[in-house]
């Protein structure tokens, strides 16, 4: 499905929120201009990762500063212990498409 347009994430090293039905996702633009997608909520508590800070390959949760690698979904620092689901991303016609099946 189409998550956003390429230009919707204006800066490199940033993240935006994408909602679809009752699900929420985080769409990332990395420092080297690649796109990635993960679940939108932190696995620790219900905080939107899109309000957090992207530092290199890391997304830091805005609530408790838990850290994930958004490229692999790996939980990197407490208080997060459970990995984040990641989703394949494809760029087509200026659109960021994510496969959430």
């Amino acid at each position: 499905m189409v998550a956003c347009a390429v230009g919707d994430i204006e800066d490199r090293e940033d993240v935006i929120r994408f909602d679809s039905g009752d699900r929420t996702f985080a769409i990332y633009r990395s420092a080297d201009d690649e796109y990635f997608a993960t679940d939108g909520y932190c696995t620790h508590e219900h905080a939107h990762l899109s309000d957090g800070l992207v530092l290199g390959d890391i997304i830091e949760c805005p609530k408790h500063n838990g850290r994930f690698n958004f490229k692999t979904g790996e939980a990197k620092a407490a208080p997060v212990c459970v990995n984040l689901n990641i989703y394949p991303v494809m760029i087509s016609d200026g659109k960021v498409m994510i496969d959430v099946r």
């Binding site: 219900h46 530092l55 830091e60 408790h64 500063n65 407490a78 212990c81």
Partner: protein, 368 residues
């Protein structure tokens, strides 16, 4: 006769813990001032320079004051050196523990982890246990039965409060918990907020610390002198007063069981020395609302959102003038809290999840 109030149960495994979950107060959505994403990203940016500078000053002063204490040991000249050393050890370690625990002080994470471990030892907080208790403090700030870090419970225990200015109750509890953890005992309360996978680390740290204290006590016995303990351990008592003085102002006398940090947290303007020792945590509403913002950017965050917050208390003394009468009143009326006025530019308080209509009084003294 004092009015009858429902007794608050601050235990994390008691009836209030269950009712907080049932009412939706636990892990609730909290009020946040709107800050444009670009501005917030700028405020959240990490830097090593400020924290490296401050840490070098901190350790440098500790070393200098520690050396002065040793050189002048046995004379009255050691007193000012111990006074400064104690505050640097027993108070400044609190804010270093806190900021490095959030992982925001330094950009480089190993530096956060290293200072966190050292500061945890100095402030006598198990770095694993307290990482999780502090996460809970941010999820459920001053929610009764959920927050493990409520400094002044109602009705206020004034004796305990005074004793903590010299760390007596805190340090005793910390030592008792360290020994209990070191023999492999994790309490039911600790189990309620520390994940099972992390609990062995609690025990490991407690054992290392116990060994360190055995060495220090052994050094004191071997030298027939209290000096080793005056440098390691006891500063947590004689130097705790500044941490308690500024820490009490964070939440005491304000609301419980709300989901708006403007109701339960206090920002107090302070002198530069206290702000250095406290690493700007006097901007406490700002910190709770946006814990991603590092300590060195909190003054900028304050300027950004102050029109949506109650006016800060202009000094430590002003903060105490507000807090002490509230605590005294809570001895009799447990539901009493100080309800500060919001500026006309602010959005209203978020109160829909209040458990019961508390009897609040706003800054002008009117019942809220």
């Amino acid at each position: 006769m004092a009015p009858a109030y429902a007794k608050r149960d601050y235990s994390l495994v008691g009836p209030n813990a269950q009712s907080a979950v049932a009412s939706g107060l636990a892990a609730a959505e909290w009020y946040h001032t709107d800050v444009p994403r670009k501005q917030m990203k700028d405020l959240m940016q990490r830097s090593d320079s400020a924290a490296i500078r401050d840490t070098l000053i901190w350790f440098g002063l500790l070393a200098a004051c520690g050396a002065g204490s040793i050189v002048y040991w046995g004379t009255w000249w050691c007193v000012p050196f111990f006074f400064a050393y104690g505050v640097l050890y027993g108070s400044a370690s609190d804010s270093r523990w806190h900021e490095c625990g959030h992982g925001t002080a330094f950009r480089t994470q190993w530096m956060n982890r290293a200072v966190y471990q050292v500061a945890s030892f100095m402030i006598m907080r198990n770095p694993v246990t307290w990482r999780w208790s502090h996460a809970r403090h941010h999820t459920d700030t001053t929610v009764v039965g959920r927050d493990a870090e409520i400094g002044v419970m109602r009705p206020p225990d004034l004796v305990r409060l005074f004793l903590n200015f010299v760390g007596i109750v805190d340090a005793w509890n910390a030592m008792r918990d360290m020994v209990r953890n070191a023999v492999g005992n994790i309490s039911p309360v600790e189990r309620s907020f520390i994940p099972t996978t992390e609990q062995p680390r609690v025990i490991r740290v407690a054992r290392v610390w116990s060994a360190l204290y055995v060495v220090v006590i052994g050094a004191s016995l071997a030298t027939h002198s209290i000096l080793p303990l005056m440098l390691v351990g006891l500063p947590r008592l004689y130097g705790a007063w500044h941490m308690v003085m500024v820490g009490l102002l964070q939440h005491a006398g304000l609301a419980e069981d709300v989901t708006d940090h403007r109701l339960n947290t206090r920002t107090v303007l302070m002198n530069p020395v206290s702000r250095f020792l406290y690493w700007n945590m006097n901007y406490h509403v700002e910190h709770h609302m946006f814990p991603m913002v590092p300590y060195h950017a909190l003054p900028r965050l304050h300027e950004t959102i102050k029109d949506d917050l109650p006016a800060p208390n202009p000094s430590i003394i002003a903060g105490y003038r507000e807090m002490i009468p509230a605590l005294l009143k809570q001895l009799q009326y447990q539901d009493y809290y100080v309800r500060r006025a919001l500026p006309p530019t602010a959005k209203p308080f978020r109160e829909e999840l209040h458990r019961a209509p508390d009897m609040g009084v706003n800054a002008s003294g009117a019942v809220g």
